[in-house]
Amino acid sequence: MGYIKWTFWITFWVLVASFFHYTLPQHDVARITDTYEKRIDFGENSLFWASADTGNAVTSVNRDVFFIQTRLSNDNVMVYRNEDTGWGWPPYFKFDTTNLQAEASDLKSVAETPQWVVIKHYGWRNEFMSIFPNAVSVRAVDDPNVRMIPWLNISILIIFFAFVWAIWVRCRRFREANIDPVLEDAGDSIANTSDGVKKWFGSWRK
């Protein structure tokens, strides 16, 4: 039983952690090297793509998606998609995809004269599934070592764990007050019965 319980809780918390890691905003410092759009035919990875621009037809099976390709300040490359999240999940309410693409194009630079930008994004880059993080905003910065404290993520996670803690405490209290006494009673009565049975067997053995 112990293994099942642990497997369940580890799976549960890994899922919760990946949900937050995918959904919460993160900031990368990067240099934009190019911007382009590419036709995408969504397949198995369609879960990791957002919807068509708000107001456009939603029934089409493929469409052009904006991309922003960058070199990060740690010298790796990273490619972002740039899509509306619209009124759907995750709740960034991003409608200005095309404007963002214009800003990103404006901030393009070459390695000799770098223009650093902070890219706010959510999502994952995974080469095996061809998925890309979705850029939410860009802003120019002078220093590639700019320090960012994720206040929003900190507050969201604190509120989330406060909720979890509140529910957990109430569950524990409920168990102590209602379930444990019943189980103890049951345990006592089983013990009494088995005593009786032993005595009966004992009397029978004599």
Binding site: S51, G55, V58, G86, W87, G88, P91, Y92, F93, K94
Partner: protein
């Protein structure tokens, strides 16, 4: 428009559940408080039902009860702010 309609309908549904639960809870807390107040004395002349009834009628017209409407107002405010921050800031 479909996505917006879906958000509004689902959001209204969920928030209404929260609103109803919170209203019932707040009212029961108020009722408990009034009953305790009556038991502790100092309210000569009234019997407990009348006293609690009168207290709850006062509560029905109070600002405290209207504050529960914040269940609708706060999420709308947050969404409006996020829309502004994401697209226009």
């Amino acid at each position: 428009m479909f996505a917006l309609a879906r958000l509004v309908v689902v959001g209204f549904f969920v928030l209404t559940i929260v609103y109803i639960c919170l209203s019932l809870y707040s009212r029961s807390v108020r009722r408990d408080k009034l009953e305790t107040e009556w038991r502790e004395g100092g309210t000569e002349g009234a019997n407990i039902e009348e006293f609690v009834q009168k207290g709850l009628e006062e509560y029905d017209g109070s600002l405290r009860r209207k504050l529960i409407l914040g269940v609708y107002v706060i999420p709308i405010g947050i969404v409006s702010f996020i829309i502004y921050a994401t697209n226009f800031m």
